[in-house]
Amino acid sequence: MYLSIKGIEKSFPHKEKGTVKVLDHIDLEVEKGQFVSIVGPSGCGKSTMLYLIAGLEKADSGSISINGNEVTGSGSDRVVVFQEAGLFPWLTVLDNVTYGLLLKKMPKKEAEQKAIEMLKMVHLGNYINSYPHQLSGGMKQRVSIARALVMEPDILLMDEPFAALDEQTRMVLHKELLEIWRKTKVTVFFITHNIREAVLLSQKIVVFATRPGKIKAVFNSKDSKDGIEPNDVMLQLEKQILAELQDEIEKVLKEEMGDDYSFKTNSVSRDTSGDMGSHI
């Protein structure tokens, strides 16, 4: 297997409870060039999982290896695209994209040429000399994707990259992301809380249970996708995933709101007059 995650455990210190386990024995295998999504309720540790792969956090136990090499720290072979674009406001769009390349000791000319090419690929060729604050949210996220892709990473790690965008922008970026993925054949590890998004984009969908985070179910979807409209199979899959997640969502809500809270819809339908069976 290309990316292999074995027995990962991770706890964080907590003010009242001492420590809280966020990841409990995660085993996951990802093939090269695969588009994998992780869906789960908020706080289920899916972002932590991504930071572990990125090498930005360290696991308590277990191992992550890529192509047989164990991950020990951050590296430019695994680049993260965050929810907020995180562009450096003191650099122009071009300088933001060349940042990583210059770190790799690439000559400035060559780096700029590559960055411009990549910016054209995300349709921002006219904005290379702008500063981040002059761009819209969607454009910033495109720059952020370009900044990651220009590094030619083996794995593109995306942490809810489209969650802060409006619906139309998101739809366009879904389509473009799939095009880029097909063109570059990069392995994508995509975190989202949006089931539709996961279904629309990925070949493999991993559903996370929460507190502690562990893998609840794995779905495969072999259809070819355009990232815009789900077909019947995808809708069916979406329902299955939602069913898996309902328990988890309820668990979170009960913890936050108290035990009497119920999220699941009542299966017995009531008629308007209120007493069941009155018109028999």
Partner: protein, 237 residues
């Protein structure tokens, strides 16, 4: 100015105590022409520049150490907060004993006046660098000195500029106080000379110069710097 001119002419105070506006202006110009005031400005500004530069560099380095190491924060960090509340002129008697009544003593309090605020601002500037930027840089492979130079420093520039601005104001005040007490040349010394000779026109001239320099530095240099960063970052549209 007209009111000043009129009240001065009508007041019963003698000219040397309450000089008229025109008299002050003529002293100011003759002082500038003869070079007396220019030499004083040069001496004061060079002291300030040296002290301010040392303070800025020292502030950045110590701020970095406090930000980076918990132990330094617990020890030095607390000390700095306490020392910051002591006006730097209070150190002057000590400085005179240590260095004698000379330029070095003045330089010492000028530097001290700016250092504490610079440390405090640098520390909080570094601490407030968004985690997101740090993660982005690390994810792209940055680390060590490169990380400090390309992320931590530029990301804290807005706070560093406001730190420099406050540090400048503190060292400027410390400089005047120090020169008033014991300098051979300088604007503060000129004030003291004016007092000793009973030349209030000279004293007021120097006050005007001090005001002008202060305004230029604060409102022209630092404000412009701040504005240009704000514009570039898009903090203010």
């Amino acid at each position: 100015m007209a009111i000043w001119e009129v009240t001065s002419r009508l007041s019963e105070l003698p000219d040397f105590m309450f000089p008229s506006f025109t008299q002050v202006m003529s002293t100011l110009f003759s002082g500038l022409l003869s070079g007396q005031i220019l030499i004083a400005i040069g001496a004061s500004l060079s002291r300030l520049l040296i002290g301010f530069t040392i303070a800025s560099v020292l502030g950045l380095i110590l701020g970095y150490l406090i930000w980076r190491y918990k132990l330094v924060e617990d020890t030095l960090g607390f000390l700095v907060t306490a020392l910051q509340s002591i006006p730097s002129i209070v150190w002057f008697p000590l400085a005179i004993i240590w260095f004698g009544l000379n330029d070095f003593a003045i330089l010492f309090i000028v530097t001290l006046g700016a250092t504490w605020t610079m440390i405090v601002n640098a520390t909080s500037g570094f601490k407030n660098v968004p985690v997101l930027y740090q993660r982005v840089a690390k994810s792209l492979g940055s680390g060590g000195f490169h990380f400090l130079r390309t992320v931590i420093l530029p990301a804290s520039v807005p706070q560093l500029i406001s730190g420099l601005r406050i540090a400048w104001a503190f060292s400027w005040r410390a400089l005047m106080a120090g020169e008033l007490l014991g300098a051979s040349v300088g604007l503060g010394q000129l004030l003291e000379a004016g007092r000793a000779l009973g030349q209030m026109d000279l004293v007021i001239s120097v006050m005007i110069i001090i005001g002008v320099i202060g305004t230029i530095m604060d409102n022209v240099l630092f404000l412009r710097l701040e504005r240009s960063v704000e514009r570039k970052w898009g903090i203010r549209a």
